[in-house]
Symmetry: C3
Subunit: 143 residues, 3 copies
């Protein structure tokens, strides 16, 4: 992965074979990033994605074997159990231009992998929500 820091923006390009969430998290941990918003596009291989079942309080998972255009990656970096955590959702297209997607466990870059991370100034912590079964953002101000 190569990158450039540009004020509160970090531009990143991942190389063929690098995992998206793993790389984002390793970078975030190394640099103590606890609050950021992420966007990305590129091309990916074998994405493992999920659909959350509120009833079962767990993810259905599927690996989509093959090569896809990464049409959208949107997500964020926050702090889960004391460490930087990358939560991203994606859509991707196959050779027929059909789109699939969901919660991203991880996916390997195959060609371009172009990302921007826009940093916030103060960490966002996640805390397990028993009703939902997921660690949700803790933000103090209530509206």
């Amino acid at each position: 992965m190569n990158y450039r820091i540009d004020n509160d923006q970090i531009y990143m390009t991942l190389a063929k074979g690098e995992l998206i969430n793993k790389t984002l998290e390793l970078y975030a941990k190394s640099n103590e990033i606890g609050c950021a918003w992420i966007n990305g596009i590129g091309a990916i291989e074998d994405p493992e994605i999920g659909y959350y079942s509120l009833e079962k309080k767990s993810y259905n998972k599927k690996v989509f074997s093959g090569y896809y255009e990464l049409t959208s990656l949107i997500g964020n970096i926050t702090i889960k159990e004391g460490e930087s955590f990358s939560h991203t959702h994606i859509t991707f297209s196959d050779i027929k231009y059909q789109i699939f997607g969901g919660h991203l466990f991880d996916a390997k870059i195959t060609a371009a992998g172009e990302f921007v991370i826009i940093q916030g100034n103060k960490n966002i912590k996640r805390k397990m929500n028993a009703e939902i079964g997921l660690p949700l953002w803790c933000l103090e101000k209530i509206f």
Copy 2:
């Protein structure tokens, strides 16, 4: 809804049962936000979405009953008829990881609902465009 203001960024997390556009608009009206860009991910229920017909100058509408991953929400807050207005488009995935989407009328959060609002400094007003049938952005500079 809980939130945190971080310079020109506002991080928001919506609770289970809260409507996305309604909540964004109520917050924007309360805080006199007239120009902002929005991104979001999460999980939603019963989204009502639209496809605009230029011929009829109106939206075809459909409610997708059930639970979905919110794979992308992209949009903006501007001023329509003197009030903050949230214009957002979404894609969402079902249990088979198929994706649907369009113009978002509104959707309820079911699990996570994670949003960032990046504010501009000066309001953008919308004005009805008779040819299109929609209130479009008014920006002074022409290219």
Copy 3:
């Protein structure tokens, strides 16, 4: 196309009939923009999209005739062969709310066309990568 510059953000609205990438690139060239992140939504006509084949080192291309909601446009402006270059991926929905997408060659705006460009401070150059067959971002720092 009409626009407004708001610190490092540029808000743009494209008129009916204007091509997205062509307009973004002409604006970027005129204003010497060499690093920016892009988001957009709106409604489009006859998008020409691509799916990259690593094996053939070229894009499969298809024009989707007709009118679609632009559910997501994500991409960036960088420098390719000395000139501003717009690299964008899109998803779009048809009248049945089905989604298609991929690498965007170009698409015409039909109704709204609402974009934000967030500028970086220093150009990103692309350089042809022989293994991939595409001009990829050159960023100095290695992680």
